[in-house]
Amino acid sequence: MYDPTVARLTYRALLGRRRALILSALPVLLIVISVIVRGLVGTDDQTAADLLGGLAIATMVPIIGVIAGTGAIGPEIDDGSVVYLLSKPVKRPTIIFTKLIVAIAVTMVFSAGPTLIAGFILNGNGQQIAVAYTVAALVASIAYAALFLLLGTVSRHAVVFGLVYALVWEALFGSLVSGARTLSVQQWSLAVAHEVTGGSMVTSDVGLPTATVLLVVVTVLATWYAGQKLRSLTLAGEE
């Protein structure tokens, strides 16, 4: 199921200099803001929760997920170099699964890592806030990576669609329309985080059972479907 060569190629592509810079931009921003807020406001639990929930979980994690998830396969399909993977006796679902693992790992490192650091800077993990949001980021990384890997497999405009989803649906729509929240990776991951810490600082609109089921279903379905799509991916001429 996991092919180390496919993984190596994917890591090298994802962590190339330009993409690594893009991936680092938001985490650096988050940490800089955290330092400034800590300096101005001092340690305040509510401020910490607001910043981690609003900036880290609602905005940074999905965007990192878009870059890593679509970037794990989209550019290869766009420029046609995926032919070197497809012309090998390697099962298509193995290629997808391996790329999923890489996309998850990269999303986790670039989103959960900075979230934890920012949490400690903001209030020293008071009320487990840093740990809770880090758990949320870890959980969300899995679902986002799977969703955006699928998007990268089926669409040439994956990055645009992904960003629209991340920004409009998860960040904007989700915070305005309560119905949309049930169908939000962000809310599902917060439900898990809430359970882990048991605190009242991290809350979700979705119950834990619903959240867990939806997370698993979305991740598994997206990965399976991406594998099917890759099986019948056609490479035609330049047109």
Partner: protein
Amino acid sequence: MTTLTIDHVSRWFGNVVAVNDITMTIGPGVTGLLGPNGAGKSTLINMMGGFLAPSTGTVTLDGRQVWRNEAIYQHIGIVPEREAMYDFLTGREFVVANAELHGLGAKAAQKALATVEMEYAQDRKISTYSKGMRQRVKMASALVHNPSLLLLDEPFNGMDPRQRMQLMALLRKMGDEGRTVLFSSHILEEVEQLARHIEVVVAGRHAASGDFRKIRRLMTDRPHRYLVRSSDDRALAAALISDSSTSGIEVDLAEGALRIQAVDFGRFTALLPRVARDHGIRLLTVSPSDESLESVFSYLVAA
């Protein structure tokens, strides 16, 4: 013995028919797939390589379906037309990765790099390679697992004459070893030099098939067409039509010219200036109207 069988294969993209009911068998040795731009060569090669499903018909390799059959790639090596490869890798890293994906190791990769004589630049990034160097590294990646079928789409594009000679020698050697080698090209001379057998595709259709002598003959024995402008088209037409070297003359009023079809090329080229001189007619333009490969091919299709 590896035989690739294309059986009544068509492929359309929306309204465009890229490949139209083609049936052919590609056996051991070097076969050239010849056709002008847009003829459907890449579409056909993509179907042979299992990257495109035929709209109708089947492509099989020794009886086994190619489409959606990953295991078949143990036997197939592919050199795609497109440039993109993993540019951030070095040539060696790229070929090693290709070897690993076949379950092979660095040794096989090294051997393939030696075969294409790229060892001297193997530790440079692919992004710094010339077109010919890229082509050779692509070739190495296709050879790494010793495939019995090699598919190459426009492999000589962008190569300088020396690189072209080298690759031709390599492909000839592979053909002589009994491998099935198929390459596409839109240049007749290129195909003639290398291919034991030629398949001609024009506008999606299978136009001709045979060794280069047969294809040459089909192309040179055709009637030659000329577009002629003169000071007196009608008089010139009247004087030429009686000669046995011409088989048809048409006065094209819109163009203000004569369209002449000559069956005896040598005789006609001597006749034309003589007749013009004898009748005091000045020749303004004499241009062969079908010397382009395009029209040679359309002649073949019509035949």
